[in-house]
Structures are given as structure tokens and as C-alpha cells.
């Protein structure tokens, strides 16, 4: 009775929810269910055949997969070590900019690359790293250093990924830290000034300790995306000369799946990645909830 009454009253609500839910059903649940292909053989005509763990066995014994996994982990680790701290430092720097006009200008310039697609960024970096005319090699030649074709150099390409990631996201990612800094009570700085603390000491003993919990939260949240290693970036920076050192899980799935048409095998690889991803996301969600009370959602 109660339910019927509510339904009569609120049927509009359900009607409004219909299209969004239909969308989720078609574009999320169906492909999610489609992940079962990892345990099947794909047939162009007729139904797929169940093959159990076959693709996973092939996967785990494949040297190509081992190297892809290794690349994913190395690139992700490099980004955590070398990219993660930059926005924190940047927020401290921006906070020290006194003139609010200049600060606004710095911020709007630094945020800009975040809004460019990785296609555009790859285009910019290919031009920037051009061995003959690129800005980087021109600076190098000024200091009498030899010119390097970074985009096709196996030794350098991962560093290109690190630096282009910094270029794109350091500015934007500093926003969250700046917000935390803004919340610090000005009274603390006043008191420190009276005690004769220098600006550097204020930064060291007031600002930095207050950033700690934000840093931890962001770090944990980033861990949830560890296995991604930045697909869009790698996909656009990759070329035949460096594929062996930058091929990551997602680019591998793309190549064997879409490129070679090995749909089932590629789905197995992406399911493997997905499972690790879910463990990491759920893990980080609960850890972060315990530490800071703020989860992933």
C-alpha cells in the first residue's frame, strides 16, 4: 500500500531516472558482463566457447606480457617519485608570491596545459624535442652539448614521460595543496612573525606541517591509479623505436586486441589489470577513510 502510494506520487522521479539508468545499463553493465570474454574464445560467427583460464596461462608465460608489466610498474614508480612532489613544492612557491596580480597570472599560465589533450601535448613536445630545431637541443647546443633525439631514445623516453607529465599536471595539481594552505589560520603566521620567524621558517614550521594530511590523502588516492601509468600520454608519445621500454598494460591491450584482433586474449590482460586496479582502489579508499576520513568517493 505504502509503496504503491509512493510510486503514484513519485513516478516522475523514476521516469527522470530512467534514461540515465538505461545509459548505465547499456554502456557499463553490458560491457562489464562482456569481460567474461577473458575466459572464452572469440568467434566472428556463432557463440564464443568457454576456455577457462587458458588466456591467463598464455599471458603469464608470455615474455611480452612480463616486459609490459615491468614497464608499467617502472613508469608508475618514476612518476610517483619525480612527479608527485612537484605540485607540493609549486604550491609553496605560489603561496610565497606576494603580489596577487602576479600570482593570478602565474596560476592561470600553469593551469593551462592541464586542459590540452595528450595529442596536442605530444605535438608540442615532439616539436620541443626536435633534434635540430627543438628548444631543448638549442639550449644544449648553447652549452656545447651534443644534440639528442629524445623521442626515439630508449634511455631518455621514460624521462620524457616524466617531464611532460610535470609540464601538464604540476600546475593544476597544486590547486589542492593551495586550498589546504588557504585554510591555515593567518593568526599562526602573525604569532610566528612576532616571535621573529623568517619567511622560510614560517614555511617550514607552519605551512608544511599543515599540508601533511593533504599530501598523504593525495598520495593514497594516486596509488589507486598505479596500473594506469598514464595511458593517453604513453599512447601518444610511443613510437617504434621506443616501444620496448614504454609499452604499458593498456597500450598492450590496445595493440593485441584492436590491432591484432585477439579480443579474448586482450580482454584477459585488461581483466588482470582491472582486478589489480580494483584491489588498489578499494584498498586505498578504506585506508584513506581511516586516516583522513575522506574516501575516494
Amino acid at each position: 500500500m505504502n509503496v504503491m502510494k509512493r510510486l503514484r506520487q513519485d513516478w516522475v522521479l523514476y521516469a527522470m531516472l530512467f534514461l540515465p539508468l538505461l545509459y548505465f545499463f547499456i554502456f557499463h553493465l553490458i560491457p562489464l558482463y562482456g569481460m567474461k570474454l577473458a575466459f572464452q574464445d572469440y568467434r566472428i560467427i556463432g557463440d564464443p566457447v568457454w576456455v577457462g583460464w587458458k588466456h591467463f596461462k598464455t599471458l603469464f608465460s608470455s615474455p611480452a606480457f612480463a616486459s609490459v608489466l615491468q614497464n608499467t610498474i617502472i613508469i608508475s614508480l618514476m612518476k610517483i617519485i619525480f612527479v608527485f612532489p612537484i605540485p607540493i613544492a609549486l604550491s609553496l612557491f605560489i603561496n610565497e608570491v606576494r603580489s596577487s596580480k602576479y600570482r593570478k597570472y602565474v596560476q592561470s599560465v600553469l593551469y593551462l596545459p592541464h586542459f590540452l589533450s595528450w595529442v596536442v601535448i605530444a605535438g608540442i613536445w615532439i616539436s620541443l624535442l626536435n633534434p635540430a630545431t627543438g628548444g631543448v637541443n638549442q639550449i644544449a647546443s648553447f652549452f656545447q652539448l651534443p644534440s639528442v633525439d629524445y623521442m626515439t631514445s630508449k634511455e631518455h623516453i621514460r624521462w620524457v614521460l616524466v617531464f611532460s607529465e610535470i609540464w601538464r599536471s604540476a600546475g593544476w595539481d597544486s590547486i589542492i595543496y593551495l586550498a589546504a594552505i588557504m585554510k591555515i589560520s593567518p593568526g599562526l603566521y602573525e604569532a610566528a612573525k612576532i616571535d621573529g620567524a623568517t619567511r622560510l621558517q614560517q614555511m617550514r614550521f607552519i605551512t608544511m606541517p599543515h599540508l601533511y594530511s593533504t599530501v598523504v590523502t593525495v598520495f593514497i588516492l594516486n596509488l589507486g591509479f598505479f596500473m594506469n601509468a598514464g595511458f593517453d600520454q604513453v599512447f601518444n608519445f610511443m613510437n617504434a623505436s621506443v616501444i620496448s621500454v614504454v609499452d604499458i598494460l593498456d597500450t598492450y591491450v590496445y595493440r593485441i586486441g584492436i590491432g591484432n584482433g585477439q579480443f579474448a586474449y586482450a580482454t584477459a590482460a585488461s581483466l588482470f589489470k582491472g582486478v589489480i586496479g580494483i584491489v588498489l582502489i578499494l584498498g586505498t579508499h578504506f585506508i584513506s577513510k581511516r586516516i583522513s576520513g575522506k574516501g575516494v568517493w
Binding site: V12, V120, T133, G135, V253, A266
Partner: protein, 270 residues
């Protein structure tokens, strides 16, 4: 460090073709002045077509995004909505469990959306994360306002369209920019789903031309590389990149105003 590479490309794209090889990577002033690169680009049907494709995907996609997201957000922001807990749980599951690229590709194939711009408009019609942001925004609107119009006999759809939507303009602007930037920059699904060059969005043409250094698709569509026209390949690429950035630059003041604020309120991820 951020601006010099951009200014360099801008300068290069306006440099006289005969002098383009003299442009170093640090020069930000064009050598001579010529709009030849842009004339060539805008005379190319593949290129102009791709801009139209991108505009259509961005406009139609964002409109659909906002319509579906706001309707769902309205319903979920209503406390009296029975089944709210269940739907929220469902959405979190959707957010955590992402299907892989292959099943999505096969789905698009199965429902006959291959080689259609519709596939790019539909496949990300609602972003759960943005839905939650808008839901919170709607929840902040005082209940009394809705209560008043309910007494006047307004139904839910009327309250949604006449009260919630007008009151939530800043929230919708933020979300519109989130979605709009996303659609404009989308290239990967387009490379997956669309193989006919005439239906490519700008980002895919850009990728073919600049990243993969494949100019045959551009030549194939028109004899733009007429030997009588002297031009510089790198400068032409620079022009393409600049054109892809211009719409973002035009919207940039709004992006700074709404997007940055929205991203902060929404938390870390975007």
C-alpha cells in the same frame, strides 16, 4: 617554461614558409608574416570537416551530458526518493568496476554504432563522479524553495526545470566545462570507433598528422600539397596544433572561474 613552447608554435605557424627552417625552438617572434599555413588548412575539406565533427560532438555531447546528469542528480538529491540508497550503491559499483576497452569496442560494434559520431556522443553520457558533484550542488539548494512551489501544485519535473536548473547555473556551467573540455579533447574512442577519415574529429586528424607524421590522409582528400605552393611541413603542423588549442583559450577565463572552483569542491580527482 609553459608558454615558450606554445608561443614558439604560434610564431612558427605565422612564419613565412621560406624562412620557417630558420626558426629555432626558442624563437617566439615569427620571421616574416604569412597566413599561408592557415589558408592551406582551411582549404582542406578533411581538416575543416574534422572541426565541424568536433564541434558537433562537443555541443551535442555536452547537451546530452547535462540533461541526463542533471535529471539523475535531481532525483538523487530528493530525500523522499525511495530506492536512493540502492541507486547510489549501484553508481559506486559502476564507478569502481570499469569495463575494459575490448568489451566496449565490441558493444559499439554490436549495436551498430561503428563509424558514427553518435558513438562518441553516447558512450560517456553520464559521468558518475560529475553526477555526485551536481547532486551535492542540488542538495545545497534550500528545501523551502521547493516546498513553496510544491504547495502551488508543481510536480517534480516542473520543479526540476523551473527551479532547480535556473538556480544551479554556476554548477551546470562548471559541469558543462568539464564535459565540454572532455569531448573536445577526446581522440582515443574516435580512433577506436571511427575508421572513415571524413568522420574523424579534429584531435584524430591532429594525431595522424602531427604525432604519427602521416600526411597521406590529408593529401588523399585534396591535392593541397600542390608543388607550386611552397610551404613548411613543421609550420603547417604548428598551425594545426594552434587551431586545436584556440577554443580552449577562448573559454579559458570561464574555465578558470568555474572549473577550478568545481574541481576543488569535488575533491581531488577530475
Amino acid at each position: 617554461m609553459v608558454l615558450v613552447p606554445l608561443l614558439n608554435l604560434l610564431a612558427l605557424s605565422f612564419t613565412e614558409p621560406g624562412k620557417a627552417h630558420l626558426m629555432g625552438g626558442l624563437d617566439i617572434i615569427p620571421k616574416g608574416f604569412s597566413t599561408l599555413n592557415y589558408e592551406l588548412l582551411f582549404a582542406n575539406p578533411l581538416f575543416t570537416g574534422s572541426i565541424l565533427n568536433s564541434v558537433w560532438i562537443t555541443v551535442a555531447g555536452t547537451a546530452l551530458n547535462l540533461a541526463l546528469t542533471s535529471m539523475a542528480a535531481y532525483v538523487l538529491a530528493r530525500n523522499e526518493f525511495a530506492g536512493k540508497k540502492f541507486v547510489l550503491f549501484f553508481l559506486i559499483v559502476i564507478m569502481v568496476f570499469e569495463p575494459g576497452m575490448i568489451p566496449e569496442y565490441l558493444l559499439i560494434k554490436d549495436i551498430g554504432l561503428m563509424n558514427t559520431l553518435t558513438s562518441l556522443i553516447l558512450y560517456k553520457a553520464v559521468n558518475v563522479y560529475y553526477l555526485f558533484i551536481l547532486m551535492r550542488f542540488f542538495q545545497d539548494i534550500p528545501e523551502e524553495i521547493l516546498e513553496a512551489s510544491r504547495i502551488d501544485g508543481a510536480g517534480h519535473f516542473r520543479m526540476y526545470s523551473r527551479i532547480m536548473m535556473p538556480l544551479s547555473k554556476p554548477g551546470l556551467a562548471t559541469l558543462g566545462l568539464f564535459y565540454g573540455v572532455y569531448h573536445w579533447n577526446e581522440y582515443f574512442r574516435a580512433t577506436l570507433y571511427i575508421s572513415e577519415p571524413a568522420k574523424w574529429p579534429l584531435q584524430v586528424v591532429l594525431r595522424q598528422f602531427v604525432v604519427r607524421k602521416d600526411n597521406t590522409s590529408l593529401i588523399g582528400s585534396q591535392n593541397m600539397f600542390d608543388s607550386s605552393i611552397h610551404f613548411d611541413f613543421a609550420a603547417l603542423q604548428a598551425g594545426t596544433i594552434i587551431i586545436a588549442i584556440v577554443p580552449l583559450l577562448v573559454l579559458y577565463p570561464f574555465i578558470l572561474k568555474y572549473y577550478a572552483k568545481g574541481a576543488l569542491e569535488g575533491g581531488v580527482k577530475d
